[in-house]
């Protein structure tokens, strides 16, 4: 093993000027630049969430006005979905480790990679401008005709922001897909690739095929709102439900953009901290592809009570159940990976345990919503809110933090406090359950979502939810503080603090600008823990 002092030149200290960051083509630096913007968006979205939760502590609607409340939950959704969940794992972690994992010097198109970041930032600026001009109140789903004819908030600016950001996502997906096809090191065959790479590949498929459709749908919405074109306008004979079809054609698969990469992270971390190969490697790999492709066939389960044909609802319900199977396969394989492992309870693994528990609940409650007869009652209630937060926060964000903790020593060369990280993981897990589990009950009791004022009998559960949310807030702040602390005061991590396999651990921490001294040649599978693991650095 190499030394523990920060070694010679690395991608961080090779140049120090601001311009060297703003014009960098280094995928590692771009990953960190995404980290900064996404963290800002996460904080912003968190503030909006706090506003929502404070309002809902009492049933009366006495903290903010109805209009403000509507803007708060809309902007929470917009910030979190488009500027946190979708870019978090692919654009931050994927950018940083993908070329390292496959032994490449960079992604296939470094300039386009930088362009994606700028496009992302420009989209974010537009969205921020929309927020500054009073925000938007349509819900993140922008359903017509409210968004086209009735809302008097900044729909256009937000729409432009989302339209632009979509291209960042497309370009990232394109870049990753070409990188995986064309940039693998000698010997890195498809079935030697780490499962995170498979997950990113599957994600790229969704980004490439789905994102253009939301872009054009938002475009049509803009034409209708700004110029008076009639495409979804019921006054002309247009169908508002068509907007929902087109919107969810992207936005349901988008859920897989959010969850597939964290699933890949989980495979990496679970293999590393169990010291054994992932159980059923090819099944886990192919289930990622299956989820990506079948994910395109299920969108109308968001429309079961929206006025679609009951027969069509039947088809979509069936397909939705079918897509549950590959997710179940993944979960069973992860569980089986633990069997006869040598399980090392380090912080990233604690996050994985949290992920497994929360994703399980999120995935299984999906079955309730895929069930036609039950969805009629549950649709647009807090049950849905709880379900997707279990997937997106319990799944995607927990997976993201697991990956961030796992690769943090590689990204910064520094190690954070393991006990603080473990404590934060437990805190977030508890806080999360306290926030969102009561919402399942609220939903079945019939509390509709997006309600500013609600019936009094729902108050106790809402107070529990708000209490949990404050724990979550403390947890996330704690993570930010010890991670930032580690950058300045943390001890050097060493090249491979976890004793992990994988090419990214073969190079120094932080890596040199061109990743490897010489192109590695791969001779074996991704998780061959045949020797004793490395000592803790």
């Amino acid at each position: 093993m190499t030394t523990t002092v920060l070694p010679r030149v690395n991608y961080l200290n090779v140049r120090h000027t601001l311009a060297s960051w703003l014009f960098t083509k280094d995928h590692k630096r771009i990953g960190l630049m995404y980290l900064v913007v996404v963290t800002a968006a996460f904080a912003l979205g968190g503030v909006f969430a706090a506003g929502v939760r404070i309002e809902l502590t009492t049933p009366e609607g006495d903290f903010v006005s109805a209009d403000t409340y509507n803007r708060l939950f809309t902007m929470h959704g917009v910030a979190m979905v488009f500027f946190v969940l979708i870019p978090a794992v692919p654009a931050i972690l994927g950018n940083f480790v993908l070329p390292l994992m496959i032994g490449a010097k960079d992604v296939a198109f470094p300039k386009i990679n930088l362009l994606s970041w700028y496009v992302f930032v420009i989209g974010f600026v537009f969205t921020l401008a929309a927020m500054a001009f009073g925000g938007v109140d349509t819900g993140w789903t922008f359903y017509t005709p409210y968004s086209t004819q009735f809302s008097n908030s900044s729909v256009m600016l937000t729409g432009i922001g989302i339209f632009i950001t979509g291209f960042s996502s497309i370009l990232t997906g394109l870049n990753f897909m070409v990188t995986i096809h064309r940039m693998r090191a000698p010997g890195m065959t498809w079935f030697r690739m780490p499962l995170f790479v498979w997950a990113l590949y599957a994600t790229s498929i969704v980004q490439i095929l789905g994102t253009p459709v939301i872009a054009i749908t938002v475009g049509m919405l803009a034409l209708e709102r700004a110029l008076g074109f009639g495409i979804f306008d019921p006054r002309l004979g247009g169908d508002p439900v068509l907007f929902q079809h087109l919107f969810w054609f992207y936005s349901h698969p988008a859920v897989y953009i959010m969850i597939l990469p964290p699933m890949g992270v989980i495979s990496e971390v679970i293999a590393c901290f169990s010291r054994k190969p992932v159980f059923g490697y090819s099944f886990v790999a192919f289930s990622s592809l299956a989820i990506a492709i079948f994910g395109f066939l299920v969108w109308a389960h968001h429309l079961f009570v929206a006025g679609i044909s009951p027969y069509s609802a039947m088809v979509f319900s069936f397909l939705s159940f079918a897509v549950a199977v590959p997710s179940a396969v993944k979960t069973f394989n992860w569980t089986a990976t633990l069997y006869k492992g040598a399980i090392w309870w380090q912080a990233p693994m604690i996050w994985v345990f949290g992920f497994l528990g929360l994703f399980l609940v999120g995935g299984l409650t999906g079955l309730f919503l895929a069930s036609l007869g039950l969805d009629v009652h549950l649709h647009d209630t807090y049950f849905v809110v709880a379900h997707f937060h279990y997937i997106m926060v319990g799944g995607a964000i927990m997976g993201y933090f697991s990956g961030l903790h796992y690769w943090w020593p590689k990204m910064t060369g520094k190690m954070y406090s393991n006990s603080a990280a473990t404590f934060a993981a437990v805190l977030v897990f508890v806080g999360f359950n306290l926030t969102f589990f009561p919402q399942f009950i609220l939903g079945y009791l019939g509390m509709p979502r997006r309600y500013h004022v609600y019936a009094e009998e729902f108050q106790v559960l809402n107070v529990m939810s708000t209490a949990g949310a404050s724990l979550l807030g403390v947890g996330y702040t704690l993570i930010a503080s010890y991670l930032i602390h580690s950058v300045f005061r943390g001890r050097a991590a060493g090249d491979n603090p976890w004793g992990a396999t994988g090419l990214e651990w073969e190079t120094q921490s932080p890596p040199i600008p061109e990743n490897f001294d010489e192109t590695p040649i791969v001779t074996g599978g991704a998780y061959e823990y045949t020797k004793r693991g490395a000592k803790v650095a």
Binding site: A104, P110, I216, G219, I521, T523
Partner: protein
């Protein structure tokens, strides 16, 4: 080393998984070879693959509008018929010929680049741009005519006919689809301008002409879009009016 799966070796080694041809560094670096690629072939394959994937996104991009077109055509065939009667089949047909012609000149442009005929490359590319601009000018006349007739959807829209409301949907989709297509043409012409300039500066050789090839793929794609738009918008429901 925690495991034995990875061995460092000379990059000129025999194993090759993804286009790392043996001896990639044997000759001097081609000026167009970027540092993170091993060989020009690898770089070329990456670029064309990237272009094809980009075209997939383009297909889906038009797909959303075409879905709206399809639904409302099924619902309102009479309005579609009335709407397509409003479009000028002569200008549309002329533009179709122009655009397919530009695809031909583009194909010759790529071919000239492949065979290293620098002058011919420039000539064919200029011709392609010329045809593209012709298309845009004709399109502009069509739009202007619609504007005069108040056939642009929106507050000033006016249309005489039993299905005026649905005709407005048709014309909305007409402007959406052809407008998006025209935007692609404008971007295409700009890209072609740059490529032509590069060709003029003798940047391309039979070993490396990737930008010409990529521009060609894009240009042909835009042509294909029009191949669908022309019958869908101008032709498809005309016959209904004849009966």
């Amino acid at each position: 080393m925690p495991n034995g799966a990875v061995a460092h070796a000379d990059p000129h080694g025999p194993a090759s998984a993804a286009g790392f041809g043996a001896g990639g560094h044997d000759h001097a670096h081609h000026p167009a070879l970027q540092h993170h690629f091993q060989t020009l072939d690898q770089q070329h394959e990456a670029s064309t693959l990237g272009m094809w994937i980009f075209l997939v996104t383009e297909v889906m991009f038009f797909g959303g509008l075409l879905m709206a077109y399809l639904l409302y055509r099924v619902w309102y065939p009479e309005a579609w018929s009335e709407g397509s009667e409003e479009l000028d089949i002569v200008l549309g047909g002329f533009n179709t010929v122009v655009l397919i012609g530009s695809s031909l000149t583009m194909a010759f442009g790529v071919r000239a680049a492949q065979t290293g005929e620098q002058k011919a490359t420039v000539r064919w590319l200029l011709l392609t741009i010329g045809l593209g601009l012709t298309f845009l000018v004709v399109k502009g006349f069509e739009y202007y005519h619609k504007w005069e007739l108040h056939h642009i959807p929106g507050p000033n829209f006016s249309f005489e006919g039993p299905h005026a409301a649905q005709v407005q949907i048709f014309l909305s989709l007409y402007f959406g689809l052809t407008g998006l297509h025209a935007l692609h043409m404008i971007i295409g012409c700009a890209i072609m301008g740059v490529i032509t300039w590069m060709a003029h500066k003798k940047r391309f050789t039979p070993e490396w002409y990737t930008p010409v090839e990529l521009a060609g793929l894009y240009w042909h794609f835009v042509d294909i879009v029009w191949i669908f738009l022309f019958p869908l918008l101008y032709l498809v429901d005309r016959a209904r009016q004849l009966s």
